[in-house]
C-alpha cells in the first residue's frame, strides 16, 4: 500500500476550500447529487462501476441538469466519481470531480470561471498563476482534422497532447465528438482545459434538444453494442430536463488532477488517501 502524503493532503484541503470560497463568491450553490444512479452518464467509452442493480455515477451530469431545469441557475458539486478500467498515473477507479453549470451562458463563458477557480486554487498553495492560451482543435491538427476516430485519437495522444505543456483551453471539437454539446455547423461547442500537461476538464454549451439527445443515446448504444460493450440505458430524466433547462454551459474538472498540477506531484495516488 502506498504511504499517505500528508503534505499533499493538506494542500488538497486548502485547494478545495479555496474553490468553494471562489464558487460562493461567484454565486454558485453547492449541491449533493446522488452517487448511486440508475444510468451512467452518456459517455460511450466510459465503463461504469455497477452497484446494487444500478451504477455508481461516472459524473454528476444528469442530476445537476435536472437541478438546473428545476430553476437553480448556478450550481456545482464536488463529488467522488467512479470509472472502471481506468488506472494509471493520472487515473484512478475512484476520483473526485468538480462539476458546475452556469445558466444563460455558452461554452466560452466557462473560460473566465475556470481561470478564476484555478487562480484561487493556485494562490491557496502558493503555486504560480497560470498564463493561459487558447487553441482550436483544427489548429492543433495543422488545419485538417482526421475523419476517422482511430486516427483522430491516436494522433491526439501520440503527437498533439504531449505539446500541450502550457495552460491551454482547447476549443471547437468536430461535431461527431460532441458528446452532449450543442453543435453549430460541423463544430461542437465543446472545450477542454489542459494544465500541467494533463487534461483537467471538459465543458460544453449544453445540448437542450430532447429529440437530438435521444438520438445520441441511441447512437451511443448502437456503437457500444457493435464494440461488444453493454449499451448504457437511455436516461429519461435528463431528456426531460434538457427540454426544460435554460441555455447553459457546464464543465467537469478533475480535482485530483488539479491538485497534481498545482503541487507538482506525478501520481494521483499522492493526492488521495490510498485504498
Amino acid at each position: 500500500m502506498s504511504p499517505i502524503d500528508a503534505t499533499r493532503l493538506r494542500q488538497r484541503a486548502a485547494i478545495v476550500q479555496a474553490l468553494r470560497c471562489q464558487l460562493a463568491d461567484d454565486g454558485f450553490l453547492e449541491l449533493h447529487p446522488p452517487v448511486l444512479v440508475t444510468g451512467p452518464a452518456l459517455e460511450e467509452t466510459l465503463e461504469p462501476v455497477r452497484a446494487d442493480g444500478g451504477y455508481l455515477h461516472t459524473s454528476p451530469e444528469f442530476a445537476l441538469k435536472r437541478a438546473l431545469a428545476a430553476g437553480l441557475p448556478r450550481i456545482y458539486a464536488i463529488t467522488p466519481c467512479f470509472r472502471e478500467e481506468e488506472l494509471g498515473r493520472h487515473h484512478a477507479r475512484e476520483f473526485t470531480l468538480l462539476e458546475l453549470y452556469l445558466a444563460n451562458a455558452g461554452y466560452l463563458d466557462l473560460i473566465p470561471v475556470v481561470k478564476r477557480l484555478v487562480a484561487a486554487a493556485a494562490r491557496a498553495v502558493g503555486a504560480p498563476l497560470p498564463s493561459w492560451r487558447s487553441r482550436t482543435v483544427a489548429d492543433l491538427y495543422g488545419g485538417t482534422i482526421p475523419q476517422d476516430d482511430d486516427t483522430f485519437f491516436f494522433r491526439w495522444v501520440d503527437t498533439i497532447e504531449p505539446t500541450l505543456t502550457e495552460p491551454t483551453f482547447v476549443l471547437d471539437y468536430p461535431a461527431r465528438h460532441a458528446a452532449l454539446a450543442e453543435v453549430r455547423g460541423d463544430i461542437a461547442e465543446r472545450l477542454e482545459v489542459y494544465l500541467g500537461g494533463m487534461e483537467l476538464g471538459n465543458g460544453f454549451s449544453e445540448l437542450r434538444d430532447p429529440d437530438e439527445l435521444r438520438a445520441r443515446f441511441a447512437r451511443s448504444a448502437e456503437r457500444r453494442a457493435a464494440a461488444g460493450r453493454v449499451p448504457h440505458p437511455t436516461d429519461e430524466g435528463v431528456i426531460d430536463a434538457s427540454a426544460r433547462m435554460p441555455r447553459a454551459a457546464g464543465i467537469a474538472i478533475g480535482l485530483d488532477r488539479l491538485v497534481l498540477a498545482l503541487t507538482g506531484a506525478d501520481d494521483i495516488a499522492r493526492v488521495q488517501i490510498p485504498r
Binding site: E86, R89, D149, D150, F152, F153, V157, E192
Partner: protein, 189 residues
C-alpha cells in the same frame, strides 16, 4: 506468447517490430470522449537508445527471445567489455556504448547479469548494490554524521558519487547503482 498493454510494467522486455526493448516508462492515457491508449518509452536492448511509442489499449506485443546469465566482468579494452561465465569459462563481449553510464561501476570480478538476445550477448544489468572503496575524496569531517551534506568521492571502479562528509579515503562503501550511483552506508572491512 504476447503481452497486452495492461501487462506493461517498468522493466518488462518486449519485442516491437522485430526489435527487443525494455519498457522504461508507461502511462495510461484516455483522451476526453475517446478510447484508451498506453504511452511508452522503450529502451532498445541492442543499442541502449530510447524511443517513444503509443499503443492502443488491447494491442499486443511479442516476447523477445532473451535469456539472462550471471557472468563476471573481466576487463575492457576501450570499446568493448568482456565478461566470463564462471562455470563454462565462456567469454562474451558487449559494446561500451550500449552499457552507457553503467560501465563506470564495472570492476574486475564483479558479478553481473548478462542479457542474451537470440543467443548473442547484447547487454548486462548491474547488481542493485555494489561494494566499492573510496580512492579519492576531500578529508573527512569528524563528528558530522548527519549524512545530509554531501561531497564528491571517486571509487575504485572509476565512478564518482556523492558521499557524506564523514567518509574518508580508503573507506569501503555500499553503493546503490540504480539511480546513477548513490551512497548507502559504510562497510566494516
Amino acid at each position: 506468447m504476447a503481452y497486452e498493454t495492461s501487462d506493461f510494467r517498468n522493466g518488462l522486455k518486449v519485442e516491437v517490430e522485430g526489435e527487443p526493448y525494455a519498457i522504461v516508462y508507461f502511462q495510461f492515457v484516455k483522451p476526453g470522449k475517446g478510447t484508451a491508449f498506453t504511452r511508452t518509452k522503450l529502451k532498445s536492448l541492442l543499442t541502449g537508445s530510447v524511443i517513444e511509442r503509443t499503443f492502443r489499449s488491447g494491442e499486443t506485443v511479442g516476447t523477445p527471445d532473451v535469456e539472462e546469465q550471471p557472468m563476471q566482468f573481466l576487463f575492457n579494452n576501450g570499446e568493448t567489455y568482456t565478461f566470463m561465465n564462471t562455470e563454462s569459462y565462456d567469454q562474451v563481449e558487449i559494446q561500451g556504448k550500449v552499457l552507457g553510464d553503467d560501465a563506470k561501476f564495472l570492476k574486475e570480478n564483479l558479478e553481473v547479469s548478462v542479457l542474451f538476445y537470440k543467443g548473442r550477448a547484447v547487454n548486462m544489468t548491474l547488481p542493485n548494490f555494489i561494494e566499492a572503496q573510496v580512492v579519492q575524496t576531500e578529508p573527512a569531517v569528524k563528528g558530522n554524521t548527519s549524512g545530509n551534506v554531501l561531497k564528491n568521492a571517486t571509487l575504485d571502479c572509476g565512478a564518482e558519487i556523492g558521499v557524506p562528509i564523514f567518509v574518508s579515503e580508503g573507506d569501503w562503501l555500499k553503493v546503490d547503482t540504480r539511480d546513477g550511483g548513490s551512497y548507502v552506508s559504510r562497510l566494516q572491512k
